[in-house]
């Protein structure tokens, strides 16, 4: 069972205290105070791939689009059990939309033999929930999105559960090769061992630039995009909460007073 996992490096905005500010270009955010991590859902995809490998044998290939700094995310996936990696890196790839991103990923799949391609089901920065399913169609493969359980039920067949609204699971049977977009909470992502980290430093990360992908200038980046994000803005907010002022002692006294007044305490 060979699995390819697509991973994205994103700013660590998981902490609700992290502030996001638009930069002077209007098309990016100020990243100077961010640390970077693997996208949350992709982390679960990596774990699911490694669990399948441990159960079924085979190899796990990590694919990333990103600058050299994204190697930390790729290496960590290798340290956990990935066997090899491809990183697509060219300044022309910047501002790729869903379509251009999926096209780039598909260009890296050309020489790979795989049974399943996994992606996270959503990224924490852009939140398109679309790249994996787009990629599936480009590869002409069946797919299932928002997958929270994967079970091999026979030669070339999986039983997967898709998580729908309200936590309802849609169970389905799908043929391999296929593309699955993995939901957060699917498993318990492991930590890499020291041995794994040492081994990962020796594993190859193949870097592909535009020429290596075989794509042309107008198929990648903004030129290759059909839905272009032209500018960020600060959301116009409606009525805000009444903010209670003061130190913790004062605010908690005010709040408990309000709760009492409303008959909630």
């Amino acid at each position: 069972m060979n699995v390819v996992v697509c991973v994205k490096q994103v700013p660590d905005t998981s902490d609700p205290d992290t502030e996001v500010h638009i930069d002077s270009s209007g098309k990016g955010v100020d990243e100077s105070k961010f640390s970077f991590v693997i996208n949350d859902a992709d982390n679960y995809a990596v774990e699911e791939a490694i669990l399948l490998k441990e159960d079924q044998g085979g190899e796990v290939t990590i694919v990333n689009i990103g600058p050299e700094a994204a190697n930390q995310v790729v290496r960590m996936a290798l340290a956990k059990g990935g066997d090899q990696a491809i990183r697509l890196d060219d300044e022309k790839f910047a501002f790729s939309d869903i379509t251009a991103t999926a096209r780039l990923l598909s260009s890296a799949m050309g020489d790979l033999e795989f049974d399943i391609v996994m992606t996270g089901c959503i990224s924490s920065d852009d939140g398109y929930s679309a790249v994996g399913v787009t990629l599936a169609q480009m590869l002409d493969l069946p797919h299932a999105a928002m997958v929270k359980s994967v079970e091999v039920i026979g030669e070339g067949k999986l039983k997967v559960g898709r998580e729908l609204e309200g936590g309802l699971m849609e169970m389905l049977e799908i043929e391999t090769p296929c593309v699955l977009t993995i939901q957060t909470g699917t498993n318990e992502p492991r930590y890499a061992s020291f041995k794994g980290i040492r081994a990962a430093s020796k594993k190859e990360i193949k870097v592909m630039d535009l020429a290596a992908t075989g794509l042309s200038d107008d198929q990648v980046g903004e030129a290759g995009s059909t839905a272009v994000m032209v500018g960020y803005s600060v959301p116009v907010v409606g009525e805000l909460a009444e903010i209670l002022e003061g130190d913790a002692g004062e605010t908690s006294a005010k709040l408990s007073g309000i709760l009492k007044e409303k008959g909630l305490v």
Partner: protein, 324 residues
Amino acid sequence: MHDIFVLAEHREGELREITLEILTLAGQLAEQSGGKVTAVLFGSGVDDYAGKCASFADRVLVVDDPMYENFNSAAYQQALALLIKTEKPHLVLIGNTGQGVDLAPSLAVELDVPYSSDIVALTLEGDKPVATRQYYGGKIEGRIEFKDADLYVLAIREASTPAGEGGKSGEIQKIDNPVTTEVTVRKFLEYVEAAIGEVDITQSTMLVSVGRGIREEKNMPMMEELAEALGADLSASRAVVDAGWLPTDRQVGISGKTVSPKLYLTVGISGAFQHVTGMKGADVVVAINKDPDAPIFQYADYGIVDDLFKVVPALTEKIKEMKG
């Protein structure tokens, strides 16, 4: 042609609200462009849904076939692509839901047309759609412009346009199933309902809801103590459940529970759309969060912008004092 197709969504015997929301949005756009709104309904024995759609659309195209009793994106995609190629609408609107995200992106690739997803606002500038999306969990917004095309496939966020009153009486047209061979690459098996644990938070009158801002599992007892002082149950955002700090049945939000307590007190929750959708039925919402720009303050009645590790113990003490 300015016609707009809207894919009707149903599940387990119910037409989902998103259908009426998008039909309402499509109606607003069609009024501007002079086009017609067509609801496209795949299902088995769906006359009732067709009737509901007809009051929001100029036309309802119904494909009634056992193949569509339950959602299967592979079957839906084939059928929809064939219909679109014949009917040539200008916009195809689909819910950015568990069904929609499993269908719309691949449909757009098959049709080779522009696509964007999780759209919170959609307008037309001339012939072309312009979309607004949220980024970084709703902390900023972005404007999406599309390349020229005859057709655009767009996935619309739930609850971004409230469903209107309807009042139209669209023509219901039953058509033959355009898919003539069985779809075998993917088969629907069954739905499995989420389990209910020892506490049913949909019935709770008081909830303390915790998010990633509490940082570590070892901080859970502090939250439990506040909940206990208030006589509240504990609920959580997805992140806390994913981390295993609380069981899945305590999750509030789109993929979790929809709650309607008298008090919903959030601690360290930033207020991404996926979460706040589940708490809109709450009477009084209080938010404790360090980031003054966190979206949660747009949904809260009262807010405390401060370090939760200072506020929570202080609040617990005050509540205890008050109760004696």
